[in-house]
Symmetry: D2
């Protein structure tokens, strides 16, 4: 499997490089960006010396299609919708890590404030939440957002089981700074983040529509959720804390059974006995889920943690590639959590 990466110098692109380096069935054959063309990646990111010494090339869909079997887009929003057109036309496999192919045209336009890809192209993309998508043999995959991944993995089993009071769902999600990308901004200046906790984009985060879209597949009558996003002073990680009221008759063991059923054969989902913390998953493709149920008030608290750059981006993209092409689901991804 020969792969190309477009947008290699972003956090997700670099994480793809690191993961694919160890993949037994895949090899990166070309890398593309809009600047530093002609330089070796390891001349710019010297920590990659000896890890990836490929030269950065300008984007050229024909060259990619001649060299590779699959292209990853790890570009900011608004790029892949245009650059992927040639691949879609030719039926050449695409995994898009950006938000460009996750939503129908009207919702994309509203939440991303950019003109969308054509609806006919969008219709060809499958939303790749690995644990719930059917990807074998698919050609075009829209990789989920990081907040969306953590939130959907916590909620879909509960909604599928009809366990939740639909009007009660609150998600208090927190992210490390790599989730915000490399763009220089006051909000990512060290001094403003360190020793701080900043809540932003309340009910306005662009992952909300894709979350609602996927949750509605599990429960078509769901109308809304409350979704809060905050920045933690860490580099990596997403913590999604979910609160919801459950139907009266449920017990803690029912909830456990619901999750166990959904994730029985899923290699990257672990149901923990305690509420998980970030350390448990950083550096890995694992999603840890823990919960506490208050039977008196019927409030269920679920904490889901992922590494935003792995399960929330590059790791899930490789997991999806594995599923699309029939490799072992964990190939290249037996990443052990770094813990410390």
């Amino acid at each position: 499997m020969r792969v190309s990466i477009v947008g290699v110098t972003g956090y997700s692109g670099l994480e793809l490089i690191k993961i694919l380096k160890r993949h037994p069935n895949a090899e990166v054959v070309s890398i593309h960006a809009t600047k530093d063309i002609g330089k070796r990646l390891s001349d710019i990111y010297t920590y990659l010396k000896g890890v990836c010494d490929l030269t950065i090339e300008a984007f050229d869909s024909q060259v990619i299609m001649s060299k590779a079997d699959l292209v990853f887009f790890a570009t900011p929003s608004g790029i892949a919708k245009d650059l992927s057109a040639d691949f879609v036309k030719m039926g050449f496999p695409v995994i898009d890590l950006s938000g460009d192919h996750r939503l129908p045209a009207d919702l994309y336009e509203k939440w991303y404030q950019q003109s969308p890809a054509s609806q006919s192209v969008l219709d060809q993309f499958v939303y790749g939440l690995s644990e719930f998508a059917s990807l074998k043999g698919k050609t075009f995959v829209a990789n989920p957002g990081c907040y969306a991944t953590a939130t959907e993995l916590a909620l879909i089993p509960l909604l599928q089981a009809g366990a939740v009071d639909r009007d009660s769902i609150i998600v208090d999600a927190k992210s490390g700074l790599t989730g915000a990308g490399k763009k220089l901004a006051e909000s990512s200046h060290f001094v403003n983040v360190h020793d701080n906790y900043v809540t932003y984009k309340l009910n306005q985060h662009q992952h909300i529509p894709e979350i609602m879209q996927e949750l509605k597949k599990a429960d078509p009558h769901l109308d809304h959720i409350q979704f809060s996003t905050s920045l933690l002073p860490v580099n990596r990680g997403i913590v999604a804390t979910l609160y919801c009221k459950l139907k009266a008759t449920l017990s803690e063991s029912d909830i456990r059974a619901i999750y166990e059923k959904s994730y029985a054969d899923k290699p990257f989902i672990r149901l923990q006995d305690e509420l998980p913390n970030l350390h448990q998953v950083i550096g890995s493709n694992i999603t840890d889920i823990g919960f506490v149920y208050n039977e008196r008030t019927q409030v269920l608290t679920v904490v889901t943690v992922i590494d935003n750059l792995v399960k929330g981006a590059a790791g899930q993209a490789v997991q999806n590639m594995n599923l699309m092409f029939g490799f072992q689901e964990t190939a290249g991804l037996n990443l052990v959590p770094a813990y410390v």
Copy 2:
């Protein structure tokens, strides 16, 4: 005003030293602890050289009553309930920063798992949430907990106004590590906290009963809240994120009016236009409150931030002293947020 501090070597005791150093009407005349007796405080905490060079003394209620006009207890739970007995008997002013005098005997025993002070003594203590307590002329004050302060200041105005669906209240509270005290524990080891976010004591934090007690004063029919506590990788600060459903007819400006009415003449409460972050209050006695209301779902999100060692402990204790003795409420407390 001459004051003594018992438990001077804890975080709250040291913060009292720093604040009282600048108080125009108060002077620390004796400091007490259980170890390092006979040493100067500044020999142990060399950063206090020239700031406080008093010698640490063993606790002796008679000596304190002979030297001072007021005693602060900044001791861990389970100490002040015994050591304050002599002062109470003699009507000597006490401000207890610990949890020993906040709850009725039965609740204290249940949540702190220690034998309580006698109910007759407990009855003489006033719960000192400065903005709502009537402290002028009072002799015995139980200073609120840090999580409790942030939570109560967010909720009391809403409950007093009858604005909240009582079954809907969720508080997702976060604290810096000084809130956990100086005791050595795995949970406060640097490696376990740094780059992490740990949710603990879900629905089991010992501040819950004092919060319920105070909220019920505002709304006697309130039965329960969901209360989550997590550790942020910072030294100081509490963020309390409150979610609740409001009564259908309310608008954003109604909510603003409710808060403005409650805090019109309160020098340390600021109603902000944006959701506040931790930086805005650290180093000061200020409580910043911001909110976002979703009229469609009727979910109100309120973010309240305080410095846990100032408004959440020593600062509020000094504010309470000021109120008890008729000093200017802000005396010694015109602390400017450090921001960075």
Copy 3:
């Protein structure tokens, strides 16, 4: 004393606001910046609500001279040299926190790569290292750089005493991120600083010439030092670790005597028995100095710590104002270290 601040929105300008707020003899009467003119400072920095609600004005030297008795420049390098011209002409007091008036014209041009103020203007400025400068009655003061302050306070006493092997001086200095200013840059992006330690500008930091200039006043035969600068993942603070060989006959008590003599009556310098750490001074105008002498190898290690925004910038500027105008040296500056 009425003061104006030019460049109020930088870290040093805001720190001046906070310090002067408590000064018994000074009041900020106007604040100036190049953007956000017409807005209240507390509308931009909401943490200053109630602390400083002045409106930001465009710079106008005539207005400042009509309203104020002194102007602080807290501007980036390259601004004060031009904007201060009118004040110098009129003999109106100026304290410049930037690097514009610390060096002779040729050195400024070389190290700052900008055209300098005229040499005749530069000659009128006194370099304001408070503990060694003679400032009473002076009108124009060039406030020292933060690295320079920590380094000079460690070295000048040793050089004055003729204790040091001149060819042996190595300074390994570390700074928090506020030292790098607010400018957005990859080097101050949270992700690049957090969990990292970056050494930069080795032997090329622009504070080197002012350090050499001041050290040569203490020892005209000094020719060079090795000066390294690194970024610590903290917001505030400078640690200057000095290594030097001493003349053979000296003992540890001689070194102590040298420092004690230099700093006997200096209210902000503390000679500690242990090597100091950053926590001991953050939030204060204090410089802590500690040392270890290895008699066998004759290597002296001195660790000096300051808060870069206080003693390294705004605090020393106010200390200099106090000295210039005959106020108590500590007026407005009895800041207690925050410690935690």
Copy 4:
């Protein structure tokens, strides 16, 4: 290759688990500790669920020798010297990550203040600085300390080349907190480390004698170095900043040639063009070396960075295992730096 790990619950033991998980030629067959015996490792460290579900056993040398081909000691100092006796007697391969077998008996006793292993046992151990040791076919290896590894890799080539003024060597070394182990202490409490920089054990760190021992192999006339150790507020990483005067005739390209010659065929040493930072190596077994030479003052500054738990402990131990048993040197160690 079947291996046992004694002291599995420390940072180095857990890192061994993670690294060996991916080793193509090795399998962990038993894990040993002094507490939690009978529990699964993944019940205590839930982040290892599915990664290592082995049960912790009490130490038993006979059992280990019956099950495994090699034993790693990842114990605190003072344990392996006793527990390894049986293995040494039987000629069973041992890699000791602790300090117990690095020094001759008298130096161990002096610096570790414990009774040493017998000199005859100590004589059978080889000091395993992978790049300079000759390990093929060896049975007993003393793995170097983390500070020692970084320092020796910077200095040995220079000393071997006779390039350095022997009286001028200063090492200003910094470490993350995992280097200090898991023991609870005030010095590792989050509040004391965060936002701080603490210099400790100046000239007294127990790695000094092993550094001197190894440096003297390169230059028998070397008498002393200045060695400073400080704690950085990060979890992982060592930065060793070396200052030394070089012989007059050397140029920057000579120095580069010296390092290139020493490390030409060493897969884990990278000579960088810029001074390296911690991010470049964390998570990997790589040592990055960069330098700046000041020809005027003849001061060479070398910055060496490693991950203290990988190249400074478990990674180098596995590298040594590979060398002892003739596996590929990089087997199991193609760890990519995590960067962020």
